[in-house]
């Protein structure tokens, strides 16, 4: 908008009131543009599956190769060490299922499914299968690929 440059000029002579007005105007314009404020961090989806709390985070999900991070904790929030974590991408609109990707352990309770190829933009459904001390669990998490 033209807010900042236009009202800056007339305030030179009588500084106080116009400067306050101009400052308020700029603040309001910025607040308006930012509101409700889309945060541009990684896409995070969290859900509870049986004994596990599963969080999937993907940095800017995009067409092609992505790295999917799966964080698994117990109900108390403590990281869980699992025997196996796989991620199976499916594109429901196309009815297209891909080969499951085995995730490797990165840190306690954190598993990375690197080189997961999502060959189409749109909404994907990622089935995360867990096998660990508290049994097996499966959870389906949606992911939007732009």
């Amino acid at each position: 908008m033209t807010v900042t440059e236009t009202d800056a000029t007339p305030v030179r002579r009588r500084p106080l009131v116009p400067i306050v007005v101009a400052a308020l105007l700029v603040a309001a314009a910025l607040a308006w543009l930012r509101w409700p404020g889309g945060t541009s961090g990684p896409t995070v989806t969290k859900t509870v599956a049986g004994a596990y709390t599963v969080q999937l985070s993907v940095d800017a999900p995009k067409l092609g190769t992505n790295t999917l991070a799966v964080d698994v904790a117990d109900s108390g929030g403590k990281p869980v060490r699992l025997d196996e974590v796989t991620v199976e991408p499916v594109m429901p609109q196309m009815g297209h299922a891909l080969t499951p990707v085995k995730a490797t352990s990165d840190a306690p309770g954190r598993y990375l499914a690197a080189d997961t190829v999502l060959p189409m933009s749109g909404q994907w459904e990622l089935t995360v299968s867990l096998r660990g001390p508290a049994g097996a669990a499966q959870v389906v998490l949606p992911l939007l690929v732009k």
């Binding site: 009202d7 000029t9 116009p18 409700p36 009815g95």
Partner: protein
């Protein structure tokens, strides 16, 4: 009591263009255990806020507590108990929802649990609304500024600067307002996209998706009832799998007030119109005591996310046991007595290939809408063997589900719910029979909180024979 029922899709309505809290009531029929319930999830206006759940019971429903739980992201957020009375009618409970996004409502009668996915909408401010309101506010401020500068500054021409800003702000505001009606709504979370917290709270973030067709592949239906025997209480288990990936389909929408409409026809021609409860992804269950042995026809009507209603047909084998076949139905229209009510059936222009109108006359104008409709008509045929109605209906070329709509009341928004007993006494259906032959038909209408099923047999002559 009337419900503001617009597009009854699961989490259906897209964000209102005017930024008003979106959402409508959702009515879902559920056959939970031996009870036939209609669960009405009232619209949610604010989060955190209350969620009112009404449960309509039908004649013959046992009294007892029904536990209702609302959960999000796999954890239960609130729980309440709705004490269902012995008298059929409306029973209510209030839950609490604390965030917008996909939710699940669980109904637990102690022995069976069914879950209904639903959507809690967020208050969404569309971009054009921000531009319009922001533009007008900025224009007002610029106007004040221009006046102040013009009055107090020695160089009056300086006032032109804020005046120019006002014109620009006005242009932004007016453009936003004019474009508002032509701005396409973003893809609807729930009915088109898998709902997530993100796409419910900010649907405009995904407005640029290169998707034009949201429809999904057809489903496969597996019907399973281990050890089904005549006269023995059993449970029909349905498994729904995606026809392209084989994965369980967990994206059913509420369509005609139910997730799945399961119509079952017995060998002697009995009909059930049941609404299985969801027990897991793609897994549905319903209790049924088959009264006779033989092949039953099973059909499921449902809608997947992305649109399109599907009809899946299958069979169910029931082993010998305590047999109680239904009495034979005399062919043709005429009066008959069903559940203590006199019903008169008339048929106009019965000929293959031309529209045939079937009208049922009930004793009084006190019919209640069931599943949002005044009446339902199931047609199966042509068939010949009165002892193998199920087996013939399972493979018959015609399997139809015809609706009689509730009359439109001028000025009324939405559809009446089941508590309105003011319709009828005539319920008529128009259907074009494709081929001549003997058809089985079943009319369904609700009266005194009891769904009546009127069986009949119609002989449809070839067009030439009927030529009048």
């Amino acid at each position: 009591m009337l419900s503001a029922l617009g597009t009854v899709l699961l989490g259906g309505a897209p964000a209102h263009a005017d930024g008003a809290p979106s959402g409508t009531d959702i009515q879902v029929a559920q056959t939970l255990g031996a009870r036939d319930l209609t669960v009405i999830v009232r619209r949610v206006d604010t989060t955190p806020g209350p969620l009112r759940v009404d449960v309509v019971t039908h004649a013959g429903s046992a009294a007892g507590p029904l536990t209702v739980r609302a959960s999000a992201a796999g954890s239960v957020v609130s729980e309440t108990t709705v004490p269902l009375g012995a008298r059929p009618g409306l029973y209510s409970g209030t839950l609490r929802v604390d965030r917008p996004g996909p939710w699940e409502l669980a109904l637990d009668d102690g022995a069976h649990v069914g879950t209904i996915p639903f959507l809690v909408p967020a208050r969404v401010v569309p971009p054009w609304e921000k531009a319009t309101y922001g533009g007008f506010v900025a224009a007002g401020v610029f106007l004040m500024l221009a006046l102040a500068v013009a009055l107090r500054s020695r160089r009056g021409s300086l006032a032109l600067l804020p005046a120019g800003g006002m014109v620009a702000a006005l242009a932004v505001a007016v453009t936003g307002a004019l474009l508002s009606s032509g701005t396409p709504p973003p893809p609807a979370a729930g009915s088109q996209l898998d709902p997530t917290i993100d796409n419910v709270t900010d649907p405009y973030a995904n407005a640029q998706l290169p998707i034009t067709d949201y429809s999904r592949p057809p489903l496969n239906l597996a019907v399973h009832d281990a050890d089904a025997r005549a006269g023995q209480a059993g449970e029909i288990r349905l498994a729904l799998a995606d026809g392209a990936t084989g994965r369980p389909a967990d994206d059913l929408l509420v369509h005609d007030n139910a997730l799945v409409h399961l119509v079952v026809v017995s060998p002697s021609g009995r009909l059930w119109h049941l609404h299985p409860v969801r027990v897991g992804p793609g897994a549905y269950r319903v209790q049924l005591t088959p009264p006779e042995s033989g092949t039953y026809a099973v059909s499921a009507e449902l809608a997947r996310r992305g649109g399109g209603v599907q009809l899946l047909r299958s069979t169910l084998q029931v082993g010998a046991g305590k047999e109680a076949p239904a009495a034979a139905v005399p062919p043709g229209p005429g009066p008959r007595r069903i559940d203590g009510s006199q019903v008169d059936l008339t048929v106009k222009t019965a000929a293959a290939g031309s529209p045939t109108t079937i009208t049922a006359h009930f004793p009084a104008a006190d019919l209640q809408p069931w599943l949002g409709m005044l009446g339902h008509l199931i047609v199966a045929g042509p068939g010949t063997d009165p002892a193998k109605v199920g087996a013939e209906a399972a493979v018959s070329p015609t399997w139809a589900h015809v609706h009689a709509m509730t009359p439109v009341v001028p000025g009324m928004v939405g559809k009446p719910d089941e508590t309105v007993a003011a319709f009828g006494p005539d319920v008529s259906f128009t259907y074009t029979f494709a081929a001549p032959g003997r058809y089985r038909i079943w009319l369904q209408a609700e009266r005194n909180y009891s769904v009546m099923t009127v069986p009949a047999v119609l002989d449809i002559p070839a067009t030439e024979v009927a030529g009048r």
